[in-house]
Amino acid sequence: MAVFSEKPIKTLLLHLALIAAVIATLFPLFWMVSVSLMSSAEANRFPPPLLPAAPTLEHYRMLFSRLNLAAYLLNSTLIATSVTVLSLLLNSMAGYAFAKLRFKGRDRLFRLLLASMVIPAQVAMLPLFLMLKEMGLVNTYSGVIVPGMASIFGIFLIRQYALSIPDSLLDAARIDGAGEFRIYRTLVLPLCKPILVTLAIFTFMGTWNDFMWPLIILTDSDLYTLPVALANLLGEHVQDAELMMAGSVLTVLPVIILFLVLQKYYIEGLVLGSVKE
């Protein structure tokens, strides 16, 4: 295309604007890392220094030694992984059924589910707490995991993708005498792999980042997830910017790495999820 050579100034300006936008976007993250490496004296200086003069890991050490951060990291990983694995299984089954299995009232049921996505999660929280209390799940990992094991959004996402599986393929398998679960396991799941990866990232990140529900349901600090522990820490260490920044880095880092590695799936899934019916 000849366009590039035609408008060098415009091209340059566009890229400059984009670079400025990227700098503005990444600055808070950059600053978070930078301050987390500063000594306490340095962080409370004005004007705020951009880079640590003598980088130190003391705050990270303190988080792990005195503030039990490793335990929270483990809790978050455990909870997010459990929810991801279990919800992937259940949502993919249901999503596939909505896409490819025929039964009475299917479309009406699906529309009902979709419509109920407008209900804010907060509405359910109060009775959910009382219910989980009766089940003895308050202050347990399961109290966080079980309610997240199926999601309407997950079902929706899988269904949208599974619609593209040709019926002829499934019918051929049926003629060969394969049972429905076998078809699901050996045919549908491999075909849905890209969207399963996408949903896995969504679920993992959503659970990892979730705040309100673990805050309510976990009372014992040994069970806290990272965001809850971080908010708790903030209540006590408001003045210790460097320490809080180090905690934030450790909370954010795993999800950022996950995103950067699997971004292709993430972004494709996001677009698919937003396609109108």
Partner: protein
């Protein structure tokens, strides 16, 4: 669900472990106290080798919900700290154990009467005061002297006269007193000084149109009407310490935490120029009463280690530990004997609190109090702003409070026959 429990078991088991012979006491404490109290624990564990204390620190901003959710989820700790205005709620929930048989009469004597009373609901003790607070007058000595007052005011009349004199001083934008108009504490203190009961008929109804409350309310509004106090809410005061140092206001009714703050944040040149004094009284009965505040320690009724829990409370209540705690936090000791130590006995600004603490009374000990207090703040602010007349504000207050107390009336009726 079983499956998950099974999957998670190894992780859970791995997390505990450790020394199996010791009894572990769960202790929840709030904010800075929660952090500082951990440094007292090695001594306790040395004295009681069979016990191990696990302190969980909870931010004040989340403390109330954490305690109630823990109660609702059957996950209460053995010992916990709670603000003493919360005690009625936990008594209603039957969440706290009575301490009647644990505290000796002699030990009880050592506590400030007004403070320990806030821990007594229906004649039974449900918490032991850990540290105490109340509100009194912080003032600029130099400004009062300039206005012709060498001593802090002892009566309402003297107080008004001092305010008038300060307001008349040259130097433009200045006020005698800072009263954040969205705070309920000062109007309530004034009413309690007048002997108002705030609520009537065993706290079935609001009693805000009674003479006592009305007079106190009028005195409070007068301070604004005469221009002695600026009509600002707490959030509008950008920097309290700077404004106090600049002389924007000369007096302020606040609590012991501000002794530490003022000493830290006021410029050096200011340090010889401010003092504290007990509240003025409406008549000659100086000092006037103030609020019985502070935090208590309580034992959860659900605890299976109540005797051990009491040992921890007893330890934290020893005068030496109270002193150690004061040195670490600035929190005022709940026991009089701790106040005999020179650290406290020679601190003039803190001693004013000692005097005041002998003259404190409790706000109504019912679970609805926090909501009632917020209504008082709301309607007082409207009256200060002139959106409601004095009469309208008090009538509205009675109406709102009566509605809040409706459930209480129903429960009392239900219990009666």
């Amino acid at each position: 669900m079983r499956l998950i429990g099974f999957l998670l078991m190894p992780a859970l088991l791995g997390a505990c472990g450790g020394d199996r012979e010791k009894t572990v006491l769960e202790f929840w404490a709030m904010g800075q106290e929660g952090e500082v109290v951990q440094s007292l624990m090695p001594e306790f564990e040395r004295l009681h080798p069979e016990l191990q204390v696990k302190v969980q620190q909870i931010p004040w901003s989340a403390a109330h919900e954490k305690l109630l959710t823990a109660y609702a989820g059957d996950a209460m700790p053995d010992v916990f700290q709670l603000g003493n205005t919360w005690i009625p709620e936990f008594v209603v929930l039957k969440a706290v154990d009575s301490l009647d048989n644990r505290l000796t009469a002699q030990q009880r004597e050592d506590y400030f009467e007004g403070i320990i009373e806030t821990n007594e609901i229906d004649g039974r003790l449900h918490g032991l005061p850990w540290y105490v607070d109340t509100r009194l007058l912080f003032y600029r000595t130099d400004i009062l002297v300039k206005a012709g007052f060498s001593a802090p005011p002892k009566t309402w009349n003297e107080w008004l006269a001092a305010m008038a004199a300060i307001a008349a001083l040259p130097g433009g934008d200045r006020y005698a007193l800072l009263l954040p108009m969205n705070e309920w504490q000062v109007p309530v203190i004034l009413a309690l000084q007048m002997g108002s009961e705030l609520l009537r008929d065993e706290a079935r109804f609001g009693n805000f149109r009674s003479d006592a409350f009305r007079q106190a309310f009028r005195f409070y509004l007068d301070i604004f009407r005469r221009g002695y106090a600026p009509a600002v809410s707490e959030a509008q005061i950008a920097n309290l310490y700077q404004e106090f140092a600049s002389g924007y206001f000369a007096m302020y009714v606040t609590g012991p935490w501000n002794i530490v703050e003022f000493e830290h944040r006021l410029p050096k040149s200011m340090q010889g120029r401010w003092a504290t004094a007990p509240m003025p009284a409406p008549d000659e009965s100086y000092p006037g009463v103030s609020l019985a505040g502070g935090a208590s320690l309580a034992i959860a009724r659900s605890s299976s280690r109540k005797d051990q829990a009491w040992k921890l409370i007893e330890f934290l209540s020893e005068p030496e530990q109270q002193l150690a705690f004061y040195r670490l936090t600035g929190d005022l000791p709940a026991r009089r004997s701790a106040w005999l130590h020179p650290d406290l006995a020679t601190a003039a600004r803190t001693q004013a609190f000692k005097t005041q603490l002998e003259r404190v009374v409790s706000t109504p000990k019912i679970p609805e109090w926090e909501r009632i207090a917020s209504k008082i703040a709301h309607h007082t602010e409207k009256a200060v702003r002139g959106e409601l007349t004095e009469e309208q504000a008090l009538a509205a207050l009675d109406k709102d409070v009566d509605r809040i107390l409706e459930k209480r009336r129903w429960l009392l009726r239900k219990r009666a026959p």
